[in-house]
Amino acid sequence: MSASGFTRRLTALTRKETRQMVRDRSNLIVGLLLPVVLILLFGYGLSFDVRDARVTVVLEDSSPTARDAVAGLEGSAYLAPIWATSMAEAERMIRAGESDAILRVPADFSRRLAAGDGRLQLLLNGVDSNTAASIEGYVNSALAIPSQQQADRTGNKPSGVASIAIVQRMWFNEAGESTWYLVPGLIVLVMTLIGAFLTSLLVAREWERGTLEALFVTPVRPLELVLAKLVPYLVIGAIDLALCLLAARFLFEVPMRGSLPVIVLACLLYLTVSLALGLFISAITRNQFAASQLALLASFMPAMMLSGFVFDLRNVPTIIQVISQFLPATHFMGLIKTLFMAGNNWPDIVRDCSILTLYAIVLIILTRRALRKKLD
């Protein structure tokens, strides 16, 4: 009898929540349109891969030797050299944002090169430190090509000079494409935003309007309330998940080396955690503005900045590493990247999924407690 009452009330409440969700266009815009926009922006818009970096070459020494030394720049796919005659002009271009770096060939270059000590000066605009570091790498390897060719020509006869050569292999992402790790991370972001932006307002709105107190006099139990509020958004999240997976597979051709059921299961688990976290914040703040701010601060921004999404956690100070371990997003981020690019790594799957399950259970219990029928 009580079991059937549970289902009856749950169905009725779920129907009410679903209608409320669908009624307001803004819910659907954020729940369905925003993820599509994010998929496209992350897949096509964001890239760490520097192309056509503008390097101004200042030839203060215009001898053929000097020209040969920097000829490699023209052949580089990553660099777009601009030729200038004076340092003043090159510096103006940097200031005006027309160029990213200056390669200066000093007037005494060929004379010093003959003495075995040719020096080139590379000036970088460090404001964009990441691009600057990439440019330095590209310039160094572009300059090395002619001198390597020279070495090859002479290298047939053993020169007697020992050297180490690097043979490099990058596992999981052979071409080193940033899209491959941004797109799995995007799934984390989309799953987080539904919880942070949509469910975080649900209970707070009812507190503000006083409709929650009205619910107290009905036979509805707190757990039924929590579940009824989760279900419609789980459906939205599942649709978003399907969109993300399809885009990852067919639009961006990110490999899916783990098995699909495991990926879907892990995603749904994290989605539940994210929604429950939003609901919990909503239940304790009782105010829409405070709830949305707290959700943003405690859930969305950390998922974007501190979960290892773009910024690798190996590089951050210990205190930030400790904080990041408390975020469910961090555990899911590691898991989803491994599942996409490396494959089914069972110890990881079991550990991270247990952590996420634990979070889901604890958050639902806490929310249920916060919704106990008690007036202040």
Binding site: S26, V30, F42, G45, S47, F48, R95, A96, D117, R119, L120, Q121, L122, L123, L124, G126, V127, D128, S129, T131, A132, V139, P158, S159, G160, V161, A162, S163, I164, A165, V167, Q168, N173, E174, G176, E177, S178, Y181, N287, F289, A290, S292, Q293, L296, L297, M301, M305, L306, G308, F311, D312, R314, N315, P317, G334, T338, M341, N345, P347, D348
Partner: protein, 370 residues
């Protein structure tokens, strides 16, 4: 003259009421500065691309003095930390898959013999590419160590490149990220405050009352915009002070120009926020539309990845994004010490956005769409 005095008195009255509404609730008061403070500190430490710690494993099949010397050079950087010494190539997958090591250095058995006879000795580097940026940076680091090791073996290249970096001598990514945060962290809240200030009154029905007061739409607009602008500037100031005194990133430009830019940027943000509020019926809608807008604005701003790496069509789209120019302006004034002439162009889109959105909002107050 009394007309102008009356206009200003009207604006001030509304401004005072808005400020009181903003600070009367202690929870709201904390929300005005705590998020900026916490995020500036957290992201200042967390948002970095710089390699500080590379755990690696070694499979040394040569076990000679030459490989030992090379590995000592690697360990000497303070960045590479050896977490495992492997004995067979079958163990490589284990340390990489589990994420214990970012890279494995495999030294072939004939490494020592090849170097001793003056030949080239291959050194295999296996990287975990799950985060391709980190892997790429680590690979470049290994390459530079190998190059300097080769020089010590007497294999000096005739050409050396002497690198100097302007405005950020050690190429620290924090220097790039933090000034960008001055604009981006304050934007979200400024936008939302502006959006909510009208949406709240709409929801509670008091906005209609405001419309029948003697205040003109322009006065309402200014009275509603000013508090949000002030809060935006307050948050920017908090982040600015943290960067300057806590993270000690040197400020090269003029503080006046920085604030002139921030006022322009914040006004544009508030204009967008007020326009959002004018098409929202409830606070919930105002908040959700704000999120809907802020996410693309953040991603297309150059905060995380440079605008120049984006496809051409998206680069064009960034011209209506005030955050792109706000970030550019703050970074250039802060780090490069750029003058008004250098950043004048950044003001054009900012003022254009403000000049469109503010009158639009004023018009929408009376002619609502929603």
């Amino acid at each position: 003259m009394p007309d102008i005095a009356r206009t200003i008195a009207g604006i001030l009255a509304l401004f005072r009421k808005e400020m009181l509404a903003l600070v009367k609730d202690p929870a709201n008061r904390a929300l005005l500065f705590m998020p900026a403070l916490l995020q500036a500190l957290l992201f200042g430490y967390g948002a970095t691309y710089d390699l500080t710690h590379v755990p690696y494993a070694v499979l040394d099949q040569s076990r000679g003095a030459a490989s030992g010397e090379f590995l000592a050079r690697l360990d000497g950087t303070g960045v590479f930390e050896r977490v495992a010494t492997l004995t067979a190539s079958s163990e490589i997958a284990g340390v990489i898959d589990g994420g214990d090591a970012l890279l494995v250095i495999s030294i072939p058995p004939d490494f020592e013999a090849r170097l001793a006879t003056g030949r080239q000795a291959p050194l295999q580097v296996i990287l975990d590419g799950r985060n391709s940026s980190t892997a790429g940076a680590a690979s470049a680091y290994v390459a530079s160590i190998v190059a300097s090791h080769n020089r010590s073996l007497g294999n000096a290249s005739p050409v050396t490149v002497v690198r100097r970096s302007w405005f950020n001598p050690n190429l620290e990514s924090r220097w790039n990220m933090m000034p960008g945060l001055i604009a981006s962290l304050s934007m979200l809240q400024t936008l939302m405050l502006a959006a909510l200030s009208v949406a709240r009154e709409r929801e509670q029905g008091t906005f209609d009352q405001l419309l029948v007061t003697p205040l003109t739409p322009l006065q309402i607009l200014i009275g509603k915009a000013l508090p949000s602008i002030l809060v935006g500037l307050l948050q920017s100031t908090i982040i600015f002070l943290i960067i300057l005194f806590w993270f000690e990133i040197p400020m090269n430009g003029s503080v006046w120009l920085l604030y002139l830019g921030l006022v322009g940027f914040t006004t544009a943000s508030v204009g967008i926020g007020l326009s959002i509020s004018a098409v929202s019926l409830t606070m919930q809608q105002a908040m959700l539309y704000t999120f809907m807008l802020v996410m693309p604005l953040m991603l297309l701003s150059g905060l995380l990845t440079p605008v120049r790496n984006m496809p051409f069509i998206l680069q064009i789209a960034t011209y209506v994004n005030p955050l792109r120019f706000g970030i550019d302006l703050v970074r250039r004034v802060y780090l490069e010490g750029a003058g008004l002439g250098d950043v004048a162009f950044d003001f054009v889109p900012l003022l254009a956005v403000a000049a469109v959105t503010l009158p639009l909002a004023a018009w929408l107050f009376r002619n609502r769409l929603a």
